[in-house]
């Protein structure tokens, strides 16, 4: 077992217990900056851990980042661990991140769908949804990115429990979703919300459930362009960007549609790389390059959020 987060291997995929141990190590090593908040429990009773990075103050304006809401997208949880270490390493060294953290907090949920993630390691590598049974059906699970109260149940999600995009019996039916909803509402001061998926190299902003452009479309579009330009500067990974509905397809009940409607202007979804033909089975050798290039885009969004308070 790694003795500290310096010797932790960020270049490989870890089972859930190792990720939980990593989180506890990071907190123990950085008591003045990192704390762990358990915002709820998954259906099977696993803790929903959120790492809080703060240098003081109370209820400061905040930035949310989550990875792994679709459990089989392993490069996202792996990147989340690298982001966590990057934040504590760069604070005090990188002037941009230092300025951000001197005025804002960052919240990072690495394993947003723990039951699904455990299941991909032990039962079905292709699992995407939550693991709550659906009454009256043999099929288990709800797509946690169709379960939010934003156009819930509309076109762009399925009403069939066996579908990979099943929206669930009602909005927020999944504790993994409801816990974030309650936390965001009780905190009340989030200014950016970034939900990270893989794959297909896209940076998306709301809406997915309607063709009506968001009122901040121009700003979100130009910030997305800046972010993907910074991302591409490292390894040339080319991203497409735009609103969900115009760039990929109609998707209802999505995370960032709900967060944007809560007033969190800088709401984005990433679809990380597969620069080759691996799909979800991205080789571990690509974890760190993926995390490094994504970090540049995240910094662009966080820096813009910091410099444009609202």
């Amino acid at each position: 077992q790694p003795r500290n987060t310096d010797s932790y291997d960020y270049g490989r995929y870890h089972p859930i217990n190792e990720i939980y141990d990593f989180q506890d190590m990071l907190v123990a090593e950085n008591p003045n900056m990192v704390s762990k908040i358990v915002i709820g429990q998954s259906y099977e009773g696993r803790p929903l851990n959120v790492l809080k990075f703060s240098t003081g103050g109370t209820n400061r304006p905040a930035i949310w980042i989550d990875t792994g809401i679709h459990s089989r997208e392993w490069v996202t949880q792996a990147s989340g661990q690298w982001f966590a270490k990057k934040i504590v390493t760069d604070y005090g060294r990188d002037p941009t991140l230092t300025a951000i953290l001197n005025k804002m907090d960052i919240f990072l949920e690495i394993v947003t769908n723990p039951d699904g993630y455990y299941y991909t390691h032990n039962n079905n590598r292709m699992w995407r949804k939550t693991r709550k049974p659906n009454p009256g059906s043999n099929c288990v699970g709800v797509d946690p990115n169709r379960n939010w109260d934003a156009g819930f149940g509309g076109p762009g999600a399925s009403g069939r429990p066996c579908s990979e995009t099943y929206h669930g019996p009602r909005a927020n039916s999944e504790s993994e979703v409801k816990s974030i909803v309650d936390f965001v509402k009780s905190h009340g001061n989030f200014k950016a919300f970034i939900s990270i998926h893989s794959y297909s190299q896209m940076l998306l902003y709301p809406y997915g459930y309607t063709r009506t452009p968001v009122k901040d479309q121009a700003e979100l579009h130009s910030l997305a362009k800046k972010a993907i330009t910074d991302l591409a500067s490292l390894y040339g990974t080319r991203y497409r960007y735009g609103s969900i509905i115009s760039t990929i397809y109609q998707a209802s009940g999505g995370t960032i549609d709900w967060t944007y409607n809560q007033g969190i202007k800088y709401s984005y979804t990433f679809e990380l790389r597969d620069t080759g033909r691996y799909g979800f089975i991205l080789p571990p050798s690509q974890i760190i390059p993926t995390a490094q290039e994504t970090w540049l885009a995240l910094m662009a969004i966080m820096d813009h959020t910091y410099k444009n308070p609202y």
Binding site: G279, F280, I281, P284
Partner: protein, 93 residues
Amino acid sequence: KETFEGHQVLRIVPKDDVQLSLIKDLEDMIEFELDFWRGVTDAVTPVDIRVPFHSLQTVKIYLETQGIEYSTMIEDLQTMLDDEQEEMESAAR
């Protein structure tokens, strides 16, 4: 543990909206148990579909008769998953 011997992932590049809707029709053929890794978006953007072994021949015939071009992105998914598992275990060791 669910295994995926013989499952293939096909990368389909629709040429136009007609082919897009033909691929969308595949989504509704639930008996094929298709898993859309990359959904249908617009013409020229690849659609990646995991096809279980039992549906492979039917799906390929469907695509070929409709003149829809595809390539095999992953020949045998289980082989890749075995490699991934082996890599995890050796790294852990």
